[in-house]
């Protein structure tokens, strides 16, 4: 796919003198903030941005320690990452937005909706989990891989993660797409300490008991073949969030937009239904 990354504006949010969070926006329309997951920069949304930017002003950003964002200290909690997201919104001049988070980004999105409810219109939680003792964790082999991943060289680590991030079907059918993803990922710097901090944030995340307080209409999206975050977490979240609907993608893995790119159209439909 020769998808071009649309770029219409960019900036840097500076919540303090030592922190700079690089953001970009593309398209026009109601603002939509995309929050990426573990160790990945905002550029990892490259597959979704062209589709969503046809209907929204799509804002992506690099979490602390990824891509072009730097900080004296990394964010070790999803609460801190949610506050970073608010700093990005302030810098981008977006007051209220739709929010779509994937994986760790979905955990940050939950915190954003709970900590700053006035800033969030609609919520999309992709391939994520609520935390707490009732959340379903991955198999020990998967957990062990992600814990030692930062010790591997970048390219080796990216390729070694393929069996975990993509379903077996996708590995057979969409090898070229997976190679594109990895080429994009390797183009951005990878900070080992930031990765470890984000792992810590993921492990500490716990919104399970408060999901019932999320008031925004929410779409929960998950692949049924996700090995990183089992899809039972999506069912649990959809059950607990009062105004939630669930979209399970059959036989899709953790990074489902690569395996089923049309899901972005469905997400756009859900977000646009609000008319905000």
């Amino acid at each position: 796919m020769a998808a071009r990354r649309l770029r219409t504006a960019s900036g840097v949010a500076t919540p303090d003198a030592f922190t700079s969070l690089r953001w970009e926006s593309a398209g026009s329309g109601p603002p939509l903030l995309l929050i990426m997951g573990l160790g990945l920069s905002g550029g990892a949304w490259w597959r979704s941005v062209p589709t969503l930017a046809k209907r929204f002003r799509v804002i992506t950003y690099d979490n602390r320690g990824t891509g072009g964002s730097t900080a004296l200290t990394y964010a070790y909690t999803t609460e801190a990452m949610a506050d970073d997201a608010v700093a990005v919104l302030d810098s981008a001049g977006a007051e209220g937005v739709h929010v779509y988070g994937m994986s760790l980004g979905g955990m940050v999105a939950q915190q954003l909706a709970l900590r700053h409810p006035n800033r969030v219109h609609r919520l999309v939680l992709g391939a994520t989990q609520p935390g707490g003792r009732r959340a379903r964790v991955a198999e020990p082999e998967v957990m062990a891989f992600f814990q030692r991943r930062s010790e591997l060289p970048s390219d080796e680590s990216a390729w070694a993660s393929v069996p975990y991030n993509y379903s077996s079907g996708a590995r057979g059918r969409h090898g070229a797409r997976i190679a594109e993803d990895i080429a994009r990922r390797l183009a951005h710097p990878f900070d080992e300490q930031a990765y470890r901090a984000q792992l810590c944030a993921s492990a500490l995340h716990n919104c399970y008991g408060r999901l019932t307080r999320i008031e925004q209409p929410t779409l929960v999206v998950h692949g049924t073949a996700d090995r990183v975050i089992p899809f039972e977490n999506a069912e649990m979240m959809a059950e607990r969030i009062p105004d939630a609907r669930l979209r399970l993608l059959r036989d899709c893995g953790h990074l489902y937009p690569t395996e089923f790119p049309r899901v972005d159209e469905a997400i756009g439909d859900f977000l646009e239904a609000s008319g905000v």
Binding site: D16, A17, T78, E79, A80, L204, N206, G209
Partner: protein, 68 residues
């Protein structure tokens, strides 16, 4: 495991703790904004962040232990 009757009380206690942490953070940020002078401003902001993160870790672990 707490009996179901105790769970709402435990949840309310953790909510209160979180509200207190948040108020403390907001106060520190307001002070930081009022000072406005670097590097004092950034140090005060970092202090607010530290308070937030420690509070978040404690609340998260408490919610996990009490299953609320």
């Amino acid at each position: 495991m707490l009996a179901d009757t105790w769970r709402p009380l435990a949840a309310a206690a953790i909510d209160s703790y979180e509200a207190g942490i948040r108020a403390a953070c907001d106060l520190q940020r307001k002070l930081a904004a009022a000072i406005g002078l670097e590097p004092v401003h950034s140090v005060a902001t970092a202090s607010a962040d530290f308070t937030r993160d420690i509070g978040a870790v404690v609340a998260s672990r408490a919610r996990w232990l009490l299953d609320v």
